[in-house]
């Protein structure tokens, strides 16, 4: 038989309200009636556990919060602070409920009286105001200089020159903008991806120690997987918030992401498969036929998207085309940012 429950509030004795300098409290008294014995397990030694059935029924109907007016004219939300259940008859239990300001002056529930962890269900302990987030993002492009093309499309010598052999074959990455001193390169649009995550923090978590940690972590990259992005691909730029005593505080964290990469000895650059979900396989393969393949030293892992690829050119003769050309002779990958554990951001 299904449990059916009715609830009746006690006349006059319920809703007692008291307010003091440090606290506000309201008490309610209800009577809950139902076929609790029908749903109880009858233990041969200890008897039926209809008390547990009644408690569960009470949990299901008692509101977790109560909004009350303040002396100043506003409102404050009180959280469920205590709940006691006492049997009156086999099918009737008396429930006394107290609502008050959560511990920490409203901080634990973000000032809105979100119930204490005791009544918050199986996820209790994470903080009540941190379940849901908002994001904003920006996909854009900015001008950068590319000194070596992705590949020559056509390369021809001027009409009338006897030796028609050219130094670059179709598809071969080649330096752009040769000068006597080096390679000027050409402007290209480079993709940029930035995103903000807004986390709603209880005021008590926004401590000076936490803010100091954010400052120390600004301009570092992630040393582990972060929101599905592989290690070393996300740069933490800034975090901003304006604290509040009585409500959850939106904290905005700003990040930029650049895809990690490996260098392959090839004419072709292979971008990461857009459907790839494994962070270990999320990297681009940049083709460079002039140097041996390279990965992060000693690890075999991709380079950070935030490491800088740097070429040095010098003039050298090209025997086939009988030309004197700028040729790459040194390639350096520079580390530009330190890494940190983004779990410490507590997003």
């Amino acid at each position: 038989m299904a449990l059916t429950v009715t609830l009746e509030e006690q006349y006059r004795d319920s809703r007692e309200f008291s307010v003091s300098r440090d606290n506000a409290e309201q008490r309610f008294t209800f009577f809950i009636c139902g076929n609790f014995l029908d749903e109880a397990l009858d233990d041969p030694t200890y008897g039926p556990d209809d008390d547990l059935v009644a408690i569960k029924a009470a949990y299901s109907v008692i509101p977790p919060l109560r909004t009350v007016p303040t002396y100043a004219g506003g409102e404050m939300v009180l959280a469920l602070a205590s709940l006691s259940v006492r049997q009156i008859a086999p099918d009737e239990w008396k429930i006394e409920v107290t609502y008050d300001i959560p511990q920490g002056g409203g901080a634990s529930g973000g000032g809105y009286g979100v119930p204490d962890d005791t009544y918050s269900g199986p996820d209790a302990g994470e903080g009540n105001a941190t379940n849901f987030y908002q994001i904003s993002f920006n996909v854009s492009a900015s001008l950068g200089t590319r000194k070596q093309s992705l590949g020559a499309i056509a390369c021809q010598k001027a009409t009338g020159i006897a030796n028609t052999t050219v130094p670059y074959s179709p598809g071969q990455p080649s330096p752009i903008g040769h000068t006597v001193d080096g390679v000027d390169g050409a402007d290209v649009y480079l993709r940029e991806f930035s995103f903000d995550i807004i986390r709603y923090m209880p005021p008590s978590e926004l401590t000076v120690a936490y803010i100091r940690r954010l400052y120390r972590m600004a301009t570092t990259i992630n040393n582990g997987i972060f929101f599905g992005f592989p290690a070393f691909s996300v740069l933490f730029l800034e975090a901003s918030a304006s604290s509040d005593l009585f409500q959850v505080v939106p904290v905005t964290f700003s990040f930029k992401m650049r895809p990690n990469y490996v260098l392959i000895e090839s004419n072709s650059t292979i971008l990461q498969d857009p459907n790839e979900d494994d962070p270990a396989l999320m990297f681009d393969q940049i083709g460079d036929p002039y140097f041996p393949a390279a990965t992060r030293l000693g690890t075999g892992l991709p380079f950070s998207g935030w490491s800088q690829l740097d070429y040095r050119y010098r003039p050298a003769p090209d025997d086939a085309s009988k030309m004197y050309l700028q040729k790459p002779y040194l390639r350096t990958v520079h580390k530009m940012y330190e890494a940190s554990n983004f779990a410490r951001l507590e997003i």
């Binding site: 009715t6 609830l7 009746e8 509030e9 949990y59 299901s60 109907v61 008692i62 509101p63 977790p64 919060l65 109560r66 909004t67 529930g109 973000g110 809105y112 979100v114 119930p115 009544y119 918050s120 269900g121 996820d123 209790a124 009540n128 105001a129 941190t130 379940n131 849901f132 987030y133 908002q134 994001i135 993002f137 996909v139 993709r191 991806f193 995103f195 995550i197 807004i198 709603y200 929101f227 599905g228 992005f229 304006s242 409500q247 959850v248 505080v249 939106p250 992401m257 895809p259 292979i270 971008l271 990461q272 498969d273 857009p274 459907n275 790839e276 979900d277 999320m282 997003i347």
Partner: protein
């Protein structure tokens, strides 16, 4: 949208997701407050002997769904999935 409203919505979302059971019980005045943010029909009302409403119960999943879609809130998993989709550049074969 002001931060205050957003944090209000976040409070309701957190509350709904952390309360046991299929419904969220509210006093009528709190139900009225919630309805200023998003209108949601009661799943059940509990009345006294004079037929006055003592408590209002709303469907938790429906409330979460409405608030999340109206104010574009997401869980960590949803953010992760969305960010991956946005960032995974052009198809390598294109």
């Amino acid at each position: 949208m002001s931060n205050e409203i957003q944090s209000n919505v976040n409070m309701w979302l957190s509350l709904a997701s952390k309360t046991n059971g299929k419904t969220l019980s509210l006093f009528p005045s709190d139900y009225a407050t919630l309805n200023k943010i998003t209108y949601i029909l009661p799943a059940r009302t509990i009345r006294d002997k004079q037929d006055r409403i003592t408590l209002v119960q709303v469907d938790k999943q429906e409330l979460i769904k409405r608030l999340k879609s109206m104010f574009n809130f997401m869980t960590k998993e949803e953010i992760t999935s969305e960010l991956k989709e946005i960032s995974n550049g052009p198809d390598s074969n294109s």
